[in-house]
């Protein structure tokens, strides 16, 4: 039993030699040492074991009794721990090195921008910085090159095109500047023709000779104003102007009376998984219940070492709580919604500047739970279209 305890506290095997061995041992035990397995090796030498904590007492007494002490062996947990510690530090260093390599490989080291003027290059770099893309940053959690590309194109209007490519630890950007071609098309001889059928409401011809007047009904392709200033003349000029005409649109709609709507109410439960190859190990948030209906969105982050993607990924699963509700609407409401939607979609299709002047319900009927709605719109819009006159040949 004592043996076991000694093992936990640590045991030292010591060889002592000197003329006053017995008094020395006696003094040690008087101070509380526990001497075990005492054996005489020869006339002046003994070997024994003590507990590790008694070593101090031995040391303090050895001068007084002129003993030479040599530690032969250390046994027990403290020594084992020491050994482990030494190996542990090696293991820790190895692990740290691995982590370091991993981090270094996932750090963005350089950004190269090519094909752009210095001003634009600076602008691109500044924008990238605001996105969190700059040298020295970790690429884990950084935006996708495609997203960056999209965003750059949106934010810098002078860019015609930019390619963002991730090459190992650097981003390569190839840009093309938008060049504004001021071609002299504005001076080329042209006619104005009608882009669609309509009744002229207003004409304003800046250059050229008008051929139509207000209340004329024109067909598609009909010449509204010509660049031929004099009939049968030789001179053709560029024609410019606006011709506002009344046009008509017929919109047919079929709308269900009952609608099933799924709504996300904003509650998000996030789970994190560690993906190792095909395995997915939940790391965080797996306990969150999935009661009720949910819409899941998976986001997988790639971890890379140089250009090799690791089989280790982080997967995030967002559960969006969904509320399903049926919406029953009355015929009146449907009509209202239909009219509004039709007007909006019509305006979206038309060129800017178009104006809805009038709206008429031609037909409204209900069958099989659906409402059929036919609307007629009266719109004022510019129908003038420039058509160049090909000369010569």
């Amino acid at each position: 039993m004592g043996n076991q305890r000694g093992y936990f506290e640590g045991v030292l095997t010591i060889e002592a030699s000197g003329p006053l061995l017995e008094p020395f041992l006696q003094a040690c035990t008087r101070r509380g040492c526990r001497v075990t397995s005492l054996r005489r090796l020869d006339e002046t030498t003994v070997r024994f074991t003590i507990r590790l904590k008694d070593w101090k007492i031995l040391r303090s007494l050895r001068r007084k009794y002129k003993c030479r002490l040599t530690i032969k062996e250390g046994k027990g947990v403290p020594f084992l721990y020491k050994l482990m510690r030494r190996r542990l530090s090696v293991a820790a260093a190895f692990l740290a090195a691995l982590v370091l390599v991993f981090l270094a490989a996932n750090t963005l080291w350089s950004i190269k921008v090519e094909g752009l003027t210095p001003e634009l290059e600076a602008a691109v770099e500044k924008k990238l910085n605001t996105y969190g893309v700059s040298p020295g940053r970790l690429t884990i959690g950084m935006k996708d090159p495609n997203d960056i590309q999209q965003q750059l194109l949106e934010d810098i209007p002078d860019l015609l095109w930019i390619g963002v490519k991730k090459q190992g630890t650097s981003y390569h950007l190839y840009g093309v500047k938008k060049t504004r071609h001021d071609t002299n098309q504005d001076n080329q001889p042209s006619n104005l023709v009608a882009s669609k059928k309509g009744m002229i409401v207003q004409t304003f011809i800046k250059k050229g000779r008008p051929l139509v007047s207000v209340y004329d009904v024109v067909k598609k392709g009909q010449v509204l104003a010509t660049g031929e200033l004099v009939e049968e003349g030789e001179t053709f000029v560029h024609t410019e102007g606006d011709v506002t005409a009344e046009t008509w649109y017929r919109v047919e709609q079929e709308l269900p009376l009952q609608q099933i709507i799924t709504l996300t109410d904003g509650t998000v439960e996030t789970e994190y998984h560690l993906k190792i190859g095909g395995w997915s190990v939940p790391v965080w948030g797996w306990w969150r219940g999935t009661d009720g209906s949910y819409r899941d969105e998976n986001v997988t982050t790639d971890w890379r070492v140089f250009s090799y993607s690791l089989p280790l990924n982080m997967k995030r699963v967002d559960h969006f709580a969904i509320d399903t509700g049926a919406m029953e609407s009355s015929r009146k409401e449907i009509e209202k919604i239909g009219r509004k939607a039709a007007g909006q979609s019509l305006l979206q299709e038309l060129e800017p500047g178009a104006e809805i002047k009038d709206e008429k319900v031609l037909h409204l009927s209900e069958e099989h739970g659906k409402v059929k709605l036919i609307l007629l719109y009266k719109v004022y819009e510019n129908i003038a279209e420039t058509k160049y006159i090909s000369q010569g040949d």
Binding site: G2, T29, T36, L38
Partner: protein
């Protein structure tokens, strides 16, 4: 220790039926066959070798002779010897008694 004190101690020990080692500062020596010796209440190890161990107690010395002797454990007042035991001899101080 004066003689009269010694006598009182002996008398008290007898009267109260106390163990002699406690009262009289004598070592208690227990042997297990001839392989182990267990000595309590000693005051010092005087000599130690494979053939002979001499132990001091308050009023004399004990000499243990044997072969291949070793101290299995040594504490402040206890000593456990092992080996092949031959004899245990007492050498009381001439003064004590």
């Amino acid at each position: 220790m004066p003689k009269w004190q010694q006598q009182i101690r002996t008398w008290i020990g007898r009267y109260f039926d106390l163990p002699a080692d406690v009262m009289l500062d004598l070592p208690r020596i227990t042997t297990i066959g001839s392989i182990h010796v267990y000595i309590e209440n000693h005051t010092g190890l005087l000599h130690f070798s494979e053939e002979e161990v001499r132990i001091q107690y308050k009023k004399g010395q004990v000499r243990i002779v044997g072969r291949d002797l070793g101290v299995k454990m040594m504490l402040k007042e206890e000593l456990l010897l092992e080996g092949e035991l031959k004899s245990v001899e007492f050498f009381p101080d001439s003064k004590g008694g």
